[in-house]
């Protein structure tokens, strides 16, 4: 049940990040060409959720604490995770026509790197905040040895 919840939450989070990336791409397109309309196929919203789901599965396999790859160094797992997620995003992007030419992949790659970095930075910040709060609370009840 916990895994289902984790996949669901990750899918939501990653789908939002992809939607943000596609939104930024459209904004750049608007600023560079002045085109006020975007023409998305009917399946684009579903393709975003599907990609989010695939990324969530990759996250579960690669960086989750119960991962079967937990013997591999965490930094290496994050690196593999980064590459795997980029492969999923660019692969799905190609299949679902988010881009048609290789040069159109460049802004997607830049947005991906920024989003990936932002998500990890936010996650680490949240973990560190929890660490700080727990350490402060523990001091009040800690036994004297």
């Amino acid at each position: 049940m916990n895994r289902c919840k984790l996949i669901f939450n990750q899918t939501l989070m990653i789908s939002t990040a992809i939607l943000f990336g596609l939104g930024i791409e459209e904004l750049i397109e608007y600023l560079s060409s002045g085109d006020e309309w975007m023409n998305w196929q009917w399946y684009i919203p579903l393709s975003v959720i599907f990609t989010g789901f695939l990324c969530a599965l990759a996250s579960l396999v690669l960086v989750d604490e119960d991962s079967s790859l937990k013997k591999i160094n965490m930094k290496m797992r994050i690196f593999i995770h980064f590459i795997a997620l980029f492969a999923v995003v660019s692969g799905c992007g190609f299949i679902f026509n988010w881009y048609s030419k290789i040069r159109q992949l460049i802004p997607i790659a830049i947005i991906y790197v920024i989003t990936y970095g932002f998500v990890w930075a936010s996650t680490i910040w949240i973990f560190k905040e929890d660490e700080k709060k727990i350490n402060e609370a523990i001091k009040d009840i800690q036994d004297k040895e």
Binding site: N2, V63, D64, E65, M74, I78, T123, I124, F127, K128, D130, E131, K133, I134, N135, A137, I138, I141, Q142, D143, E145
Partner: protein
């Protein structure tokens, strides 16, 4: 066993009378709580059962269906399972993984890891991993 409670107005008048056929571990534990205001856990030391005060416990671990109780310097075996000990132990004990219960008061500090787990440094220098699922419970117990 029937339990009767009669309210009195003065602390000096407080007393407990236990009528029992024999002094079982549970009754000994109850006596210890009443006398010392501290819970105890029966553990095995050199083939003898001794009552270990819970405030001396650092953590309890289940390995191959056996349960081990760790204090600052010693390790004892107990016949209780982890889920049974969770009922016996006080508020300051927390399940931190499927196979471990920790005494929160024995944690020197915690350090967050990238996968959401936390590493707890204990007062005796040992390190314990707190699973991500239980970090939330730890925060709850600490009122965070």
């Amino acid at each position: 066993m029937k339990v009767k409670v009669r309210q009195v107005s003065l602390y000096e008048d407080e007393e407990a009378l236990i009528s029992a056929v024999e002094l079982t571990d549970d009754i000994k534990s109850a006596i210890d709580i009443l006398e010392n205001n501290c819970r105890v856990v029966p553990v095995i030391s050199d083939s003898k059962t001794i009552m270990l005060k819970t405030d001396a416990i650092y953590y309890i671990e289940s390995v191959d269906k056996r349960t081990y109780v760790y204090t600052k310097e010693n390790c004892y075996e107990t016949r209780y399972r982890l889920y049974e000990l969770e009922d016996i132990l006080s508020f300051y004990f927390l399940r931190v993984s499927k196979a471990m219960i920790i005494n929160i008061r024995k944690i020197r500090a915690v350090k967050a890891e990238l996968n959401g787990r936390m590493r707890a440094d204990l007062l005796n220098g040992e390190q314990i991993t707190i699973s991500r699922a239980y970090v939330k419970e730890l925060k709850g117990k600490l009122g965070i």
